[in-house]
Amino acid sequence: MPIKRAIGVMPQEASPYGALTVWEHISFFTRLKGLSKKEASVETEKALKLLDLEDRRNEEVDTLSGGLRRRVILAQAITNNPKLLLLDEPTAGFDPAARKRVWEIIIDFQRKKETTVILTTPYLDDARAVAQGIVIFNKGKVITQGSVEEVMSNIGYEVEIELENRKEISDIMNAHGIEKIKIDGDRIIAWITWKDLQKIVGSMTSLGLSASNMKISRPSLDEVYLDILRRV
């Protein structure tokens, strides 16, 4: 069986054919995957339903908004239950609701249909929810790759903490060699590893300082990405 029959592709820049209706567009390209007219029709109906395009089935693609046209291309990519989905910025131009829906569909394909999904996206935190592996490129070169956790630990910190700006706290930070610190008025913000966090909390407790008003958050993947780019 040709490999291409098992692949669903959503190119980023390709424009759909404006004179075709939504139904025709999905159905024609589904037939080119090797399906009969009847099979393609069934697959088209499924894709229309999945991407909430049922009401638009008879509209010409030319009359649709940019986001809806992208949805048509995604719909034709997911027909025939592909084993591999290659999606180039699948949510570009989508409103938040559609974006959420698309991520749900991708997760569904990945987990229930065991489809391998390779996608590019500028929405890194959205990708975090679905990605088992991440590759970050800059100017065509791989900067870092691995699981989300690996990529995040590669940058040298895993958590962001925010504490009261006190001399004792600064001393503890210095004692543990924490360098990535920012003073913001009466607050100290530091980017540290989980191990460092344990040590800092231990030191604070031994000095009788309360860690109860410490704010702990995980840095977003966007921040990690920017941090990586700054280092390149």
Binding site: K4, A14, S15, P16, L32, L86
Partner: protein, 251 residues
Amino acid sequence: MNQKIEEIKMRIRNITVIAGIYLRYAKRNPGFYFLQVVFLPMSILIPLLILTQGLIVDLAVGSLICTQVVMTIQDVGDIVSGDKARKSRSFFITTPIKPTDYMIGIALAPLGYNVIGGAILLAFCRFALGVSIEPTQLFGIVLVLGATWFISALVGFGIAEYGPRNWYHTGAICGIVSFFVTFLAPVYYPVERLPPILRFASYFLYTANLGSIGRSIMMGTSVDIVSVCALVCFLLLCLLIVIRGLNWREL
């Protein structure tokens, strides 16, 4: 053997699906396409008939060839350059279809309406102008028109594939080429009217050869073998150029 037959069936199906995609434009605007395939050749044929008051067979053959050339070069050029500009070809490249099927599918699309144009013009020549067309002549003329369509499709393909990136420029080049091979070449008039040097040069134009063959069929004279050979060479050259241009990996 069965696998081979299945593959051929699949390829035919793919070609018709591709042709169907591009025929949708004509299906959505039938009046516009009808006018294009009928009005243009007629608007040239009628003034020429009045002006020349003769050469009816030459003009009829010229008009029939014109119906296949103009729309095919222009439409195939538009489709291919449009696909390139809009990057829509990636929809095909990522499916299991072969580049040649894509090419044939695109070429078939204009044939869908050219056939209508050709049939109307043929009926006009037969019934309005009184041109006698025997069944064998009809068969020969259909073959000539088929060859005209196919080579014109390759020419349109070649222009769009190797021509400028900007598709407006491609459209303009297709228009100029269509005009050149239809109206300047000896298609509406016999090649004998040209000075000897240009007569030789006309062998390099496929439409001139097709015109010569078409006239011979209609007049019942022997077909010029040099024209046939020149035509075959031109066809092979065009095929080679186009297939080289369309090259994507099959997985």
